[in-house]
């Protein structure tokens, strides 16, 4: 009981100075990460940034070279079985037994959990995703195999879902269904931690995102804050030609096109307040701002790369 109280007060995932070296390659260089209970957390980064390495350290597939990790208040190495009993894991490189049928594979995996999942729930999940449980896995497409992976990650109603590219290979309709399933699980109190390359999907469902770069967390915020902080593209049309060069003096503003002095395209970093006030003294015909996507916000962190 005391343990339960203790673990409920802990964040779902916490790492402190987590490092992982593969020989001379430093995959994680002191990762500090915190995922709160009950949130959907998107873990972003390009290939080789350390996303999968982090996930595999959290599940004791690989052992960190240094630092500390906690999952639901447990040490993933010392209490690995406890951790995995509470987690639904979807690997990025999902492989299944080709000779089994989808249903048999799910029964086998449920057996690894001591049969904890209610089979009616499993059938319901399969039906939602349009998975035929009687098809041999070797005959399934990549997307259908991924559905098996999604079902096994959700079937025991885990406290925490750790998913590496969960929608990989799924068609847009099924992707939406998976998002709904994640949101429903969150509504019941579960936490979702997932990595993705598809930033639009992260933007759609994540409460917070973390951006990892070269094994270090460079940003952790909610998607709208990230977008607000990133570059906005603005196109200003003046009623008559103006001396646009004064706009380059405005902090955070960069003019990148001003052909005739009537139409000026520029980009603004951060809030637009100063720019709007600077423009107020000119006759303006129109002002268009383009809301950046999470992708653009994300790319700011990788400009140097």
């Amino acid at each position: 009981m005391i343990d339960d109280l203790k673990t409920n007060a802990e964040p779902a995932i916490r790492t402190k100075g987590l490092t992982k070296n593969y020989g001379e390659v430093r995959a994680l260089r002191g990762l500090d990460l915190e995922v709160r209970r009950g949130e959907i957390f998107g873990f972003l980064g390009p290939n080789g940034a350390g996303k999968t390495t982090t996930i595999r350290c959290l599940l004791d597939m690989i052992r960190p070279s240094g630092g500390k990790a906690e999952v639901l208040g447990f040490d993933p190495q010392r209490d690995s079985v406890e951790v995995r009993a509470r987690v639904g894991y979807l690997p990025g490189e999902l492989r299944l037994y080709g000779y089994m049928k989808a249903g048999a594979m799910l029964r086998f995996l449920n057996g690894q959990r001591g049969g904890r999942a209610d089979w009616d729930d499993v059938e319901e999940l399969a039906e939602r995703l349009g998975l035929d449980m009687n098809t041999p896995i070797k005959n399934l497409s990549k997307g259908n195999k991924q559905k098996v992976g999604v079902v096994q990650a959700f079937m025991h109603q885990p406290e925490l879902m750790i998913m590496d590219e969960p929608t990989s290979g799924l068609d847009p309709l099924v992707q939406q269904e998976v998002f709904s399933m994640i949101q429903e699980a969150r509504a019941k109190g579960a936490t979702a931690f997932f990595s993705s390359h598809v930033l639009s999907e992260v933007e759609e469902i994540a409460d917070r995102v973390g951006i990892i770069r070269q094994g270090v967390l460079v940003e952790s915020a909610n998607p709208s804050d990230l977008i607000e902080r990133s570059l906005h593209r603005v196109t200003v049309r003046f009623r008559e030609p103006v001396d646009w060069k004064m706009l380059t003096q405005v902090p955070g503003v960069e003019v990148f096109e001003a052909d005739d002095g009537v139409t000026v395209s520029l980009q603004v970093e951060g809030e637009m307040d100063t720019l709007v006030k600077s423009l107020a003294k000119y006759p303006i015909s129109s002002l268009e701002t383009e809301r950046p996507s999470l992708e653009e916000a994300f790319l700011v962190y990788y400009e140097d790369n």
Partner: protein, 287 residues
């Protein structure tokens, strides 16, 4: 643990049926010829007198007369090369006990479930032992069925000892293969190492039989402690216990390495063996 045991046994069912039935039929077939051999003993003695001693040594026969005892006959025609044949199953199943699923990437998914490494290992190891035991039992059953067609002054228990001796040898090489798969970079290399040990052991034992001066070296060969058909005359329990004990040591080392091991994902390489060739830059420096 039992989920993994059951699953591994179900996966091995065709190996058990295939290997077990073939060995069983072969055993029954060979035993049924024993009467015929005795009837033609004189002609056979003449024939065998012309055999090169190397051939008799390879069959584990020290004197031609030995061929006509039940134990000698079974050893020559069934058990002498059985470790080489069924050893293939032991080595392939052993090297693939965990490394096969690991290299295929399925172990990553299984290890995402609440199963401890110890339980997973033991569940699969027990299934592996059960598979080899089932093959040995089917061989024994085949021999027993074969004795129904000939008159042999032999109890079913006595007939069991050669199969037990074979099982001990299979467990030795099988668990060595499991251990090698946990120590070496890939399943393929582990199987090659275990296969190499088996072949070297067979040749060493054969040369030891052929040349008494080599017997001291042959004593280090694991197959020197394999009795085969000779076990009918009396089981060397210390040999049997020694083989089983070493098998347990191999299994414990394999388990220890598995607990320390980082689970690979599909397509990920293991560690590289040390390079024997110098790098070009190093070679240039030395020149």
């Amino acid at each position: 643990m039992w989920t993994n045991f059951k699953h591994s046994i179900i996966r091995s069912r065709w190996q058990i049926i295939g290997w077990g039935l073939i060995m069983g039929f072969y055993g029954a077939y060979m035993v049924s010829f024993y009467d015929n051999l005795l009837g033609m003993q004189d002609q056979f003695m003449e024939l065998i007198a012309n055999y090169p001693p190397e051939l008799l040594a390879a069959l584990g026969v020290s004197s031609p007369e030995e061929l006509f005892s039940v134990g000698g006959y079974l050893n020559t025609y069934v058990f002498s090369y059985m470790p080489l044949i069924v050893g293939v199953l032991a080595i392939l199943a052993g090297s693939g006990l965990l490394a096969s699923d690991e290299e295929d990437g399925v172990l990553d998914l299984i290890m995402g479930h609440p199963v401890s490494r110890v339980r997973l290992f033991i569940g699969r190891l027990l299934a592996f032992v059960a598979t080899l035991t089932a093959v040995a039992v089917l061989l024994w059953a085949g021999l027993a069925i074969g004795t129904l067609t000939v008159e042999l002054d032999l109890s079913m228990i006595n007939l069991m000892w050669p199969s037990l001796s074979l099982l001990a040898a299979l467990l030795f090489f099988g668990t060595f293969s499991v251990m090698a798969s946990m120590l070496l970079p890939s399943r393929k290399i582990a199987a090659m190492a275990a296969g190499g040990l088996l072949a070297a052991s067979f040749l060493l034992t054969m040369f030891g039989n052929l040349d008494p001066t080599l017997s001291a070296i042959a004593d280090i060969s694991p197959l020197s402690y394999y009795q085969g058909g000779g076990a009918i005359e009396g089981v060397e329990w210390t040999w049997l216990a020694g083989q089983l004990l070493i098998s347990i040591v191999f299994a414990v080392i394999a388990l220890w390495r598995f607990q320390k091991r980082e689970i690979r994902v599909a397509g990920e390489r293991g560690f590289s063996l040390p390079r024997l060739r110098l790098r070009r830059s190093e070679a240039a420096q030395q020149a």
